[in-house]
Symmetry: D3
């Protein structure tokens, strides 16, 4: 897989509640596409990351972490602007929800530009992937996604609309243009994003519309589970109820695990069942990538659930 996006440093609140009263923050490496990439690699496939980080400690932090996890970071560029960061506020004002507070305006990652997109690399990938976040962070980043999608027909896309980065109107216009210009093989989305994109939050109806632009639609439904829509029909995989520490990154865990297993030859239904495990484990900790499971861990989880 080749993916384009922004790697971020996450500063997660050690205690929950409003950030004004949080005294300690825990550092993690995050960013939707990076989360996808690590999920991908954990399950035995390769992932090449295209993007930029700052020529600073946080940039080196991100690169060393991803390289350690097995992600190919040879194409990541160092940029003079600072590495983007965000804070996570947990359980406030909504219990079990998390809020991201970004410091990423003008960041190194947002300076991703079409010249960073190595044409041969992208053409040679089995899958080229990006998300709505990369479309939102800057016009050059957006252009980079359009360029990459123009180079390879095996595309996947996670809508990931972040309303702190753009308006619903901007999100809809840009994402729908991308999907119209470059229909994807795999579209990962959820009911909130669907309402923004196609004015429909019913999973079935929204997916029916979105399937015009995608062979496969994965519709995430939070703790309830996720649905899968493709020519073979609909499949629903229910979620598991576990103690929630931080939901940030759970959707990426689901999407990355799903794509990696499908690329490995799993049936999409089984891939979705496994992907649900990945997102379930993900919400039990702070940090987006630390709990991404390998195949044996997913199977140990499922085996234990079968007992009950």
């Amino acid at each position: 897989m080749v993916t384009l996006g922004e790697i971020l440093i996450e500063l997660n609140a050690v205690t929950s509640g409003p950030l004004r009263h949080v005294n300690y923050f825990e550092k993690h490496v995050a960013g939707s596409e990076a989360n996808y990439c690590v999920a991908f690699v954990r399950l035995g496939n390769n992932c090449v990351y295209i993007g930029r980080v700052g020529r600073d400690e946080f940039g080196h932090n991100a690169i060393e972490w991803l390289r350690g996890k097995g992600v190919n970071v040879d194409h990541v560029k160092f940029d003079d602007n600072p590495t983007g960061i965000f804070f996570v506020q947990r359980d406030y004002p909504v219990p079990l929800h998390s809020e991201s507070i970004y410091y990423r305006k003008g960041s190194a990652g947002s300076r991703l530009s079409p010249e960073d997109v190595d044409e041969n690399l992208v053409r040679g990938g089995d899958l080229v992937h990006s998300t709505g976040i990369t479309l939102a962070i800057s016009s050059s980043a957006r252009d980079s996604v359009f360029k990459a999608f123009s180079l390879n027909g095996n595309r996947s896309f996670d809508t990931n609309i972040r309303l702190k980065l753009w308006t619903p109107e901007e999100a809809r216009t840009t994402i729908m243009k991308l999907l119209k210009d470059y229909p994807v093989k795999y579209l990962i989305t959820d009911v909130d994003d669907s309402r923004i994109l196609v004015g429909e939050s019913d999973p079935d109806r929204a997916s029916a519309i979105l399937r015009e632009y995608a062979e496969v639609v994965v519709m995430k439904q939070g703790p309830k589970g996720a649905s899968l829509y493709h020519d073979g029909g609909k499949y629903f995989s229910p979620g598991y109820s576990v103690p929630v520490e931080d939901v940030t990154g759970a959707g990426d865990a689901l999407g990355g695990t799903f794509l990696s297993l499908v690329m490995s030859g799993f049936s999409m239904e089984k891939a979705l069942d496994y992907a649900i495990v990945s997102s379930t484990l993900n919400v039990m900790i702070r940090g987006d990538q630390e709990n991404l499971p390998g195949l044996s861990e997913i199977e140990a989880f499922l085996k234990e659930m079968d007992k009950k």
Copy 2:
């Protein structure tokens, strides 16, 4: 609002279980009336605090914290005795319950005396508030509440019986005398306190008796929710199920939010619904005041719950 009471420093166990095995404690500012005051201020109203703190680091700690939150502390006196403190033991021996271990005997706060009650200040308040704790900590503190209640007919009272501070008999005699001498507009209480005060723990029956002394009775029922009784009838607002970190202060959050919103012109029913949100958020963290929400946070919480 004008309130009288003792501000305490809370030392909350970082890990749950018996205190003998707790190695680290986290410091917070607490005290029932201070909790009420901050809840009051967070929702846009003013609160003047009458009381004493020690001329020590913990006393300054309390004053700086409350002043920072917007509480008027100009009437708080510094006293030579030490600022009262308490420890919180969590989840032991009863899961999801907390136990307070006080070091407040002879504390600065317990030396609150009638001379500290500025008559003009109390007369000018829209509401004068205190709790059973202030009645219990010393005779001079008790006299101060009686004096303050004699000066202003707009009274609210939270029974807050702490059996580590006095016997059930003492609590009943003193509180019932106060209520008889000075019937209140708002009485905040719960089923355990009601059994002690009027020998009745059924919410409806207890409230019927208590309404002889109060225009409005708010009957807290723990995680189940709370009931409201007034001339307009009964209203029950159910609680929300969330992960519990520490229940200390949840009742104050409920009472303070209720009173503040009522003073702001909300209907009592809506105020109670909102107050439940406040106490719900409160149990999710250690510390009594850090999670007290503003109006927008309460509404964000309710909006999200509506989705489900």
Copy 3:
């Protein structure tokens, strides 16, 4: 009670998830038999520990802790080999489960040998206790248990099969030989161990088989509760649903509390009800012994549950 086993130092993950991403570990004293002993002592009975610890900081740590709790450690020997340790990985890959990673091969504790078993001491005990772990750690430790069991007819045994220490086949052969040679008064086991030992995981059927070797069988069933089988019939005591921090040691808490109360003259049924409380409190914290309750704590727990 006289017990034989290995005291271990436990290094519990401060954050849950795979150990590779855990940065901090919290130290506790553990070991199944030590857990039993402390549970025993907390409820007013005496416990003598037979075993070895290293002549190192961790060995002294273990001895000072147990002596502090009131365990008789006069018979513990210091050995040149290091004190055994283990790490606890929590909630990964299975939520609410814990995994132990041992560094105990060749440890001081595994060098327990028959010469350490003081005959007079064991003969004089009201109960001699050990577990499947002691049988598994070394042949000299196994021989020590056989020797001790040969000396005193009042025996109790917890099967505690750890598949990281031996194979199911080894476990079955050794444990069944012990039980055949030396039938016990109290056998504490669970459904997983029963399947290994007698090929049956149905609580009733497994217990029926096991009662050939035991007057009393306590069959633990995880969070569901536990069943008791003896001549007086079957008794089931249900578990309580609480937030789980770490389940390590919960079975020992149950077994130790049960045995101690039975020795104190409680009916076995009541002892089991109380033992369930002990294991319930145990799963709410990291550490195996810190939450072991005394009688008054168990009763406070039950009184509160009765209210609901």
Copy 4:
């Protein structure tokens, strides 16, 4: 005192070394002018803060903290841009030094503009104060300082050149223009800044040049101490050797303490001796304002040093 500047949230590394390997950060309120203000208030004088913070949790954090400490924050405006933050890397690559990594470009604080400068307020102040940082963060902030300095002749200025915010050339041009247009009563600076401003790092020679623009020059010399130059001659006050945790904010502690005591009527020499104590205590902790001492603390410090 009236001061203009940017309040920042400081995220200080809990462990020293390169930030890529720091896992936890501790939050504090900082910003040079805020540090001055708190030092000022701690010693019994009033300080009014002019500036902007974000309409976000960090902005509220800053306001509540400063209000709690007794700073007048009634003139601080909330702005739609985010509150500026910075990270502190300690002891790397230079032992006992700290490095600030800013995320303050386009921050709320940088949007301070002349319209925020209340003319009556500034005219009525006994002293108007700002620093080189406020000159550097934006042109509107710079204009605000020039406006404020034009309104009141009792000015103080700390050069505080931060080469991550502007070039030496920009710093020199802007600061020297300010000092030429508006000579100050008190100029606080150090040898590094002096070299940039007047090409001279010898304390005596640099001060001689700078005194053309300032009645009083305080020349900080790091751990060695500080010198004072005015019509009455030169005075040197030596530093104290203590364990260093973080030097960030030490210069502000010195400057703020000096100014506050001078305003209180202390001789400048004595004020400098006391100010050295303030900066000494400051380097012993993380956080810029927590160790700012009151008069009695400074005197306790000096009394103890006299013993030795």
Copy 5:
């Protein structure tokens, strides 16, 4: 050794600076006489503790800890009053100094009374020891010391004057009366206490006066070291320069180590050299008893110092 005193729970600031800004506290067991006792036991001698603790978690904490360390706590009584506690503020306002903030008025420990002093036990001790703190905390505690000293001529006493517990005048009158009535074998004191007691802070002159009441005087001189005065002359043992975390308890470490080694047959000079090592290690950590060394640790320390 038999000792009388109050065992306290110490809550040591995790970060240094004024307590108002300390968010976390670390729990330890302390109390001067308990420190002496543990130092004594660590070096191979027995120590019986006479005193009271609360019937609360902190009381059990203290007893379990001391029993674990090998102290004989069979004579400690449980009392209905709470266990005394104190907070430690470090490095503020005086660097490398610590301040104790007590919550011990009316504590269980202060209720030590002559009836607690088992006459046979005290008569049978090789040494009976107490400190100025026990004299200060209550009249019944003071009477207990007088009674114990009347029962056994082998007495040691540490002056340990705490001006937060009594006035210099009270300290002098009481301590000097004790020493006149019951001259001691070993008097441990320091220059500050000497000034209060005999109006003389020069080590030699103060000791000359004090030796009227003591066969041996150990005069502590802080980080400089300590002097020993007895019939055999004067001996000075210099201190070691190490990083200081918390000096609380360092004097007890010195005194307890000295006494224990003298009782073991060491020359007093060598005992003092070793005792200096004990107090040196003691200041490097928070907690008064954790770093108390055994003989082999002291010798390892000295061997390493010899290398340099």
Copy 6:
């Protein structure tokens, strides 16, 4: 560089003092040869690691960390035995010293065997490096070093004698045999090891003897600095005085930095000066590799020192 050794997981005491009283441990990746490798890579050269780690979380931890830092771990094998670990006890019983407590007997790393030594790889390396630790951990590991040294004449060796792993006699015999059979280009050692190896702890005399087996001898002298001996004469580079957190790994930092810079073409004298900086930074933190500096950091350090 090609290096052979054991990668370990380090559990460093969060608080100093005897491990029995340390409650929290911080995890790091360590092992002398791994430290060398990372130092090497940080300065721009390549390093290939030959060794084994467990097929467990700690093994993956080590590999991901080293890969992240840029070390070539393609030749590291996974082994069924567990990854070796060690605990670090700091400042006790000797201030500023650290003690390692190993759990590495039979570890995966100790199973390094000659078959793991890829002949082409070793032959192709510019430098082949190992240490006395690898010689000590097992006979197969020792044989691996002998094999590797037989394959490539460009050898470097750090004596690193650990008396917990073998006796002085074993160390001397084995190391001297290696040096005789395979004289090295660079020998890194210290005065303690020299005394064991050649009975001489004077730096000059010991180096004179050792130079029979080495073109270049680097003689570490702790905080004092280090000396360099080669045909060009002797050069001494003094150490810097800084606050010490943990000295573990400081020697490896020095050796790795020295070798890497020499390989990059620096003069040996300058390389040693820079290496001293590396070891100086290393002692300021827990963890052996986190503070290993790059070239720009070393130069920033030296530039600042020049100022003073």
